[in-house]
């Protein structure tokens, strides 16, 4: 054993403890501001070192629009608007993402790898797509239609990856051949045999793309000009202008959405807010 090896060995018992400490420290760093924000949204005063005067629903009342004062936009209208747009984007993603995920997983064809890269990697940053939309579709960029199309493009990789992950865990060729040999046509095989088997991945992909689209900021901020204010801009307005406790309440609304999404994803077999599905 060289001296160098002996020296390294001395750190072995420390190594594991150190790595564990780093992991917990990082998780604390992730969690503390989230929990703090959520708790602070129920405080009535932020004058001291820590928020005080628990527990009041006043901040929630203001952002929900039940108070007579506060920010111009209330969450109800903007969240409803964004939920609608995000649903539209998710529907487009289902129509676009599921078929191409199947083609990429099941078949070998010309330039498949290139197409795969295009489908699973977001290539255009939201802000660049935003200025491109402003000039290409000046009339439509900030309409509901423009936002739906933009969100669909920006979030499609998440749909393709999640559904692909589900398809990859199935023996597609065998399922397809069995159904065909029993007399089902190809479209019928795809719609009534393949898709139901990939149900979990498709639902998980929809939840992920919906949640991300509901709070999409970069593209929205660039194209928005008039009309109902999307949810992410409501959050931005709060973060920039509202008192701390009120912003905390506004952001906590989104936290609740993400937590619900993660809980449902967990039931579907996804580990957390990720595109990996483990089929049961």
């Amino acid at each position: 054993m060289t001296r160098w090896q002996r020296m390294i060995r001395r750190f072995d018992p420390v190594g594991r403890r150190l790595v564990t400490a780093v992991v917990y420290a990082f998780l604390a760093f992730l969690t503390i501001p989230i929990v703090y924000t959520f708790v602070a949204s129920f405080a009535s005063s932020a004058d001291g070192v820590l928020p005080s005067g628990f527990a009041t629903l006043e901040n929630w009342r203001v952002v929900m629009g039940y108070a007579d004062y506060g920010v111009q936009t209330t969450v109800g209208r903007s969240l409803l608007f964004s939920a609608g747009i995000a649903t539209g984007g998710t529907v487009v993603n289902l129509l676009v993402g599921v078929p191409i995920a199947y083609a990429l997983t099941r078949y070998e064809f010309f330039a498949r790898d290139w197409l795969n890269a295009l489908a699973i990697l977001p290539l255009v940053p939201g802000i660049v797509l935003g200025i491109a939309f402003l000039r290409a579709y000046p009339e439509n960029a900030s309409t509901s239609f423009g936002l739906v199309v933009g969100y669909a493009l920006l979030k499609s990789p998440y749909m393709v990856l999640t559904v692909q992950s589900s398809f990859q865990s199935m023996d597609l060729r065998r399922i397809e051949e069995s159904a065909r040999s029993l007399g089902a046509s190809w479209p019928r095989t795809f719609l009534t045999v393949i898709l139901p088997n990939a149900k979990n991945g498709i639902v998980a992909g929809s939840i992920i793309t919906w949640t991300l689209a509901a709070a999409e900021f970069n593209f929205t901020y660039m194209v928005y000009s008039q009309g109902p204010r999307p949810f992410s801009l409501f959050l931005f307005e709060n973060i920039n202008n509202a008192p701390f406790l009120q912003s905390a309440a506004a952001i906590s609304i989104y936290f609740l959405i993400v937590v619900s999404a993660i809980v449902v994803l967990q039931f579907l077999g996804n580990r957390g807010f990720t595109t990996t599905t483990t089929n049961p």
């Binding site: 390294i8 992991v23 255009v124 939201g126 660049v128 797509l129 200025i131 993400v258």
Partner: protein, 306 residues
Amino acid sequence: MSITTTATRYREIATEFASVLASPSTEREREQRRIAVMCLPFFVLGTFAAFVPLVVMARMSVSADPFENAGYSLEAWRTLATDSTYLTVAWNTLWFAALTTIVSVALGVAISHALEKYSLPFENVLVAVLSFPIALPGIVVAFLIVTLLGRQGLVTNLAAVFTGQSAIDLATATTVTGLFIGYVYSLVPRSTMVLRGTYAEINTDAEEAARALGAGSIETFCHVTLPQIRPGVVAAIILTFRSALAIFGTVLVLGGLTVATVRINYEISVGFDSQLAGAIGVVYFLFILTFTFASLRFVETSVVEL
């Protein structure tokens, strides 16, 4: 081969392809038609939502009129090439993304190692918490950094109590340090998710053999585990770097450094220099495209995770 015969040849191929799509006669041809039909919606979306707008944006960068695409002027590109401001912006964007990527991937290796090897309690909950920031828009991440490091932040106040300095002097949220921490906050979860996939595929026999033959745990990690996860580390670096490049909301709220995304926004909101914004957009998109396809040669796309 002359141009006309090449053209004829291409026309023949196209006609053949069209006839295969219209009336396939063999199973192979039917399969080709299926592939074409299933990829079609993606091509339609890609054309109208990405290709056309990006071409229009490129045209915008050489327009003489800032409000519509009319006339030609290379003014914006000349400014971009000669004004040193833009060199600084490019340099800021690159070094900051590179540094945050390296730190985020290193932390990601530690976290995915612990999750895979140490059987920590409540692993499911830990993974769920770890994935939470992936869902957060940049502006929310910025807000969370302010709750920690802003003038009224938790860490700031704690430091003020211990050092006796005023909290206002200690606040770092809106400096480059705060921005760095904000980037790491949103990037570590992404790098960890990529690395977890690789960790799950490690052949543990080799590690056990190394330990049985007397190697220590650090030696085993360096000589047995690390070579096995190398593809995952490379993929994590590529994907994290790409994510870092696209960050906008966090910088918009925190400030601290002018990166390309923020500069594009600045060109539009101050003086509406749409040509210059378009030119930066073109360079930025081409860089991401080239970087992605050049680096993909080093990784399998099966490790991609978002």
